[in-house]
Amino acid sequence: MAEKTFAEINAKIRAGKAVVVTAEELVQFVAEKGVGRAAKEVDVVTTGTFAPMCSSGAFFNFGHSAPRIKFHRVWLNNVPAYAGLAAVDAFLGATALPEEDPLNKNHPGEFRYGGGHVIEDLVAGRPVRLKALGYGTDCYPRREIETVVTLNDLNEAVLFNPRNAYQNYNCAVNLGPKTLYTYMGVLKPRLGNAHYSTSGQLSPLLKDPYFRTIGVGTRIFLGGGTGYVVWNGTQHFPGLLALPEGAPPVPAGGTLAVLGDLKQMSPQWLRGTSMLGYGATLSVGIGIPIPVLNEEVCYWASRPDSELYAPVVDYAEAYPNRRPGNLGFVSYAELKSGRIIIEGKEVPTAPLSSYVKAREISNILKQWILEGKFLLGEPVQLLPGPDAGITPKTLEIRDSGRRNR
């Protein structure tokens, strides 16, 4: 079969003739009519995910006051942002917490407000208190400023998330005797529940496991606006996990760094989030179009929940102590059924990733493309895939006097 190019597909989108389906619809299409026919007929597959993504944040430029100030410390609604940039630039991280937050002093802490909530307040158009301290220079004499800003008042507000859209993720369980409060939610003791957090057959990077189409410059749905993949995410480990029974290997942990104009986004798709006993974060909506360049791309994009697997990991001992290994694999079909079997025990499952929102995103992105207002961005460089041989580095504790460099 002949390969399609990005340019050919974009020409069809402009002409209003592109065939676009969601990943959920493609699963159905291929099951009924086969991969070969789907690859010929379908031009673009849209994916979606909506879940807490901690490595998120935003760059701001606040404009200059009179007299001018060079931020040395800066807070938005009392949540500290990073000011180690030019005078009135700052970066606010999604997990930053207010100065007076009780944290986990009364465990489990509630973490009701943090950087992610500030970002949600801004995109919702709500006023946010800006407080900053300077140390005074000849060119930036002001030492203190306190004011109120809205998103429209800012010169630039750019969502820049260094790690989003995890390709696959652990199914978290608790083998211990006590309830655990984790970034994977509340885990009840002795296998009381199992939490997972991808949208399975709708999840963007599970549908392009070899990174044949996604790379630097891929245009995406980000937080309700248009964004871009700008690099691989941090902790990008796209190697495949081998399943014990000789089933096809499973994508492991590819990630994306994404960027977009916060002023285009909406609180419906960027939501401040609190994980009991863990911290505050931001839930992000992301949708990625996969161009059906050939039959192989189509094949991977059409894998159903029953062929996509997550490793089951214990968060009582194994995860916190970085012990390798897992308690086996479960398919997303099993996870979505509501019950899985672990070590002979039936365990109720629950997602942290909203499948409802993921489906909605894949449909919105499909609509944007059908209306001709969203063209595919051809990557200037694809991201490293499974064959790049990337393996995780660990942080070792060394003597501070070590001088072997």
């Binding site: 879940a51 009701r112 939610g185 009381g192 989030t273 839930s283 629950a350 997602p351 409802v356």
Partner: protein, 133 residues
């Protein structure tokens, strides 16, 4: 004064022990079980109407056995605007009042089945579950 209606939560380890029996025998209480969801080796819940002079002592006895005791004076409501249908509450809710409607995966809330244990109020990452007094 001790509340007459209480929500009890039984940890899995004691769900199969005779406990309520002692309220009658040792504390001379008149009890009326309004709702109960108790199964062996599983976390259980019960809504109990208690009348008697030794109500407070009886409830203290329950707490010593590891039973969670909360007054039933409130309702739980869902803030539809804030709920993103993620599902994080569904394996936490002990009565199945919060559940996923499959295969569409919408989170549904059956307030009839809710015993106001309030676990969802703190566990919901979006703070969509609210206590209404």
């Amino acid at each position: 004064m001790a509340p007459s209606k209480v929500v009890l939560r039984f940890p899995a380890a004691i769900a199969d022990k005779p406990i309520i029996f002692h309220l009658v025998k040792d504390y001379d209480l008149m009890i009326n079980i309004l709702k109960a969801n108790i199964n062996p080796h599983k976390e259980g819940t019960m809504v109990l109407d208690v009348v008697g002079e030794k109500t407070e002592a009886g409830l203290d006895f329950l707490r010593r056995q590891g039973v969670g005791v909360q007054p039933l004076t409130e309702d739980i409501v869902r803030n539809e605007e804030r709920c993103t249908h993620c599902g994080a509450c569904t394996a936490i809710c002990p009565t199945g009042a919060l559940y996923l409607e499959r295969p569409a995966m919408f989170v549904r809330f059956d307030s009839e089945a809710c015993v106001v244990c309030q676990l969802c109020v703190r566990a919901c990452p979006m703070h969509a579950m609210e206590v209404r007094f």
